[in-house]
Subunit: 234 residues, 2 copies
């Protein structure tokens, strides 16, 4: 049994470890069911009664929230092995929709609680996964609070390129499945600003457009550097 569970690794302190432990996946599968969602279809909506917890086996999802005036904030994109189902007072706080075809294990909360009670390692694993999401959320906050739009877009593209599902390391080609509107709503900006930023990054030589959502990234490290460099000055 592959054991990437380490009793001594503190969930708050540990780095991001590999995905599901075999035993955890088996447990989840025993009480949960596999489900598929096609692009743009929702797993649930904010405000729905929180009856299930999900783990992504494959595909990408977006977690978003709607404002009274119809504006939308995408609070996170969710990837393979990510857990979702965050709720408050029994109701989901985000809407989850598939970006690509999405393959999940859906586990009823009641059954999940059985698991948590039966096996302490699952609680710890849950804490670790949640801590991972928290680190991501804080990175996102940094991005929204301090970066101008071209840098936000650069960072987003760079982050996408760190996912093997999307980035071919041999050809350096990134295939982003999300539309401009998704990117804009994630980065707290407008579609047009994203389009302009892409153009700008291209003329800076950091990316090259292939198709509308496919980019060649000549030097991924350079792109990453650009995203973290100061807004003004050099």
């Amino acid at each position: 049994m592959p054991d990437n569970f380490e009793p001594d690794s503190n969930p708050l302190v540990a780095g991001d470890k590999a995905g599901l432990t075999a035993c955890e996946e088996a447990l989840m599968l025993r009480v949960g069911t596999v489900r598929l969602y096609s692009p743009d279809s929702p797993a649930y909506r904010e405000g729905d009664q929180a009856d299930n917890v999900f783990i992504i086996r494959a595909g990408i999802a977006r977690a978003s929230r709607l404002l009274p005036d119809g504006r939308r904030q995408i609070v996170a994109f969710l990837w393979a092995n990510d857990l979702f189902g965050l709720a408050e007072d029994g109701a989901y706080i985000n809407t989850i929709e598939a970006v690509t075809t999405l393959d999940v294990v859906r586990t009823p909360v009641a059954a999940m609680n059985e698991l948590l009670r039966a096996d302490a390692r699952i609680s710890l694993d849950m804490a670790r996964r949640t801590a991972h999401s928290l680190r991501e959320a804080q990175r996102h906050i940094l991005c929204l609070g301090q970066l101008d739009v071209p840098r936000r877009v650069a960072r987003f593209i760079s982050d996408c390129a760190s996912h093997v599902e999307l980035f071919d390391e041999r050809t350096n080609v990134l295939c982003m499945p999300m539309k401009r509107l998704d990117v804009a709503d994630y980065l707290g900006t407008s579609i047009e600003a994203v389009a302009r930023a892409v153009t700008q990054l291209e003329s800076a030589g950091l990316i090259e457009r292939r198709l509308r959502r496919d980019f060649l990234i000549p030097d991924p490290a350079l792109l990453r550097d650009y995203a973290t460099r100061a807004t003004h000055g050099s």
Copy 2:
């Protein structure tokens, strides 16, 4: 023994519950030590080796990150009963500094891991606390991504007013301990923009200045509504 630990409450799903369970606090105290920090002094800095986990007994702290160009993002304010010590690959990812006098229990990670192994409820509690921070972080993301500066400030003041340490419900007076610079760095804007927003909220009748950081809030619900209302239109 007061039991606010509920074996059936899923950390992802549960609302925010009361603070430390008596037994958890006792456990933390048995292996941890009480420490005090005076305003503006750090508990640790980003990049430091992550040897300890902390729980706030009283006081307020800020969790911040520095950018290469010296800009600072405050990713969260931390309140009584909040856990901190978030790290990645053995190093803290944020700097933690006291805003007010700060009273914490500091527990070595090794000892904390003993606790986690010995008592499954502590893992679950940790997951629940982390989920709480994640919800807060997502609210913050929403704020940074979608709200204009006056609304961000309104929401911040409103959030502060929901903390009994700062808000007197009898007089409706809020005493904010953080400086304008802290507020600006938290909200991803400039000191000046915060000052102008405060002036604007005052002339809109939503707040009244008492001292520089003390406000009277005639109608807290009205202030909260303003913060969530659309940027344009009514």
